[in-house]
Amino acid sequence: MNIKFKIENLSVYFGKEQFLNSVNLEVEANKILGIIGPSGSGKSTLLGALNRMNELEPYCRTEGTILMDGVDINSSTYNVINLRKKVGIVFAMPVPLPMSIYENVVYGVRLSGVNDKKRLDELVEKSLSEAFLWNEVKDRLNLSGLRISGGQQQRLCLARVLAMEPEAILLDEPSSGLDPISTSKIEDALNQLKEKYTIVLVTNNTKQAARISDNTAYFLLGDMIEVGSTKQIFTAPLKKETDDYITGRFG
């Protein structure tokens, strides 16, 4: 078993409020880890710690260590810009940048200094194909990214992360605002992508976690209650809280 992230005693505070309470969690490489739990349980905060987007909030404090391939990415000496290039995120609300589809995909790559037109063209086709979007937009790559449908925008946001050729992909409820067809396209894409990437999928939809994640972790009020193989979590959870949540008896 190859561990990508080893999270140890991770606590996150925004101001005086604590959003994660000393979480310990291992994320396997080339697997999909589904994270489920009611809202306010710290799922998104965990993702925000993995690529340090939490730091954009003033008054955010993160304690503990997050080892990525054995290196502590939470250390102040770790270059956060490089981290975000290696650990991409897709947000709940699909928001392409206000530029063309093509430019959206190559945005991050250009910033890294790649300007070779041929290389960029290849990347655009490859990333959009991996995100199951290429066939729908290949004839209108110069259209504004804001002019395509919500489901397409979300896959565009996935494609722009893929173009960076990251090591891990974080998804924060990527299909919360999408129709079932778009959702299944995203899920198909993720199933293929785990061959190459480590994926952490936060979802409010327990069925989605059951469908596509290899492992599942249950969070409640900032605590990691239980983690295990998806099969075990959904058929024989060890903790009563987990059972209550997945069977819908929660709250």
């Binding site: 987007m53 810009i81 290039k85 947000f91 206000p98 804001l146």
Partner: protein
Amino acid sequence: MKLVGEKGVQRILMITALSAISSLLLIALFIFSEGLPFIFKYGAGNFLLANEWDPNTGHFGIFPMIMSSVWVTLGAMVVGAPLGIAGAIFLSEYASPIIMKIVKPTIELLAAIPSVVYGFIGVMVLAPVIRNNLGGPGLSLLAGCIILGIMILPTVISISIDSILAVPRSYREGSLALGATTWQTTHMVTIKAARSGIVASIILGLGRAIGETMAVIMVAGNSVNIPNSALDSVRTLTANIALEMSYATGMHREALFATGVILFIIIMILNSIASVAIRNRNAKK
């Protein structure tokens, strides 16, 4: 029993709103009715393009004043726009919210300082510095540009900040999450998205600069000539009207009104461009 019904309130508010518009219309009507006949009588070409302005001999060419106004305004933009935009970027993207809360109202307070005070500082401080270090009379095009550049800062900064802050936060997050630095995000995403608002802020600043009178009269020197260098004394269109209005009669008086017509048209054009730019910003999501 209600004193004024719903209909009554509506009517009163409408009259108030109309009175603002009608005063604008009246002013426009007055200026045009006084100034336009002169332009037709004297000839638009002679009026706009001739170099000689000598009311005593019946010469009313305002070309030097037009050029002076243009140069002063462009100079004010060169001074004010980079400072203002850079300040707006710093305050909206880099400064902590507390600094923003203190500095932005302070900058807006700059707009409340009477222009005569700016002019006074220009005469007492700026003009001697220019005279002693660069030569010339001190009261000059350069002094006008610097003073006006400072005077347009509040306009440029506060409208720019508003349009930068109107850029959705998710654009910034999307960019930063792809490993962009704050500066890369600012110039590749935020500024581009806020571009039309920033352009509008500059144009409104230009409108303010070209219409400014008191400060310019005090610092620009007011001799009628086409400036050859930044150190020359110049007279703007606004200064021309203000300086001669009190004693002008007959043709001379009509020529000054005609100058007002020209100013009015320039400012209307600038403001229209600005409002189109602002509308574009709102239309684009």
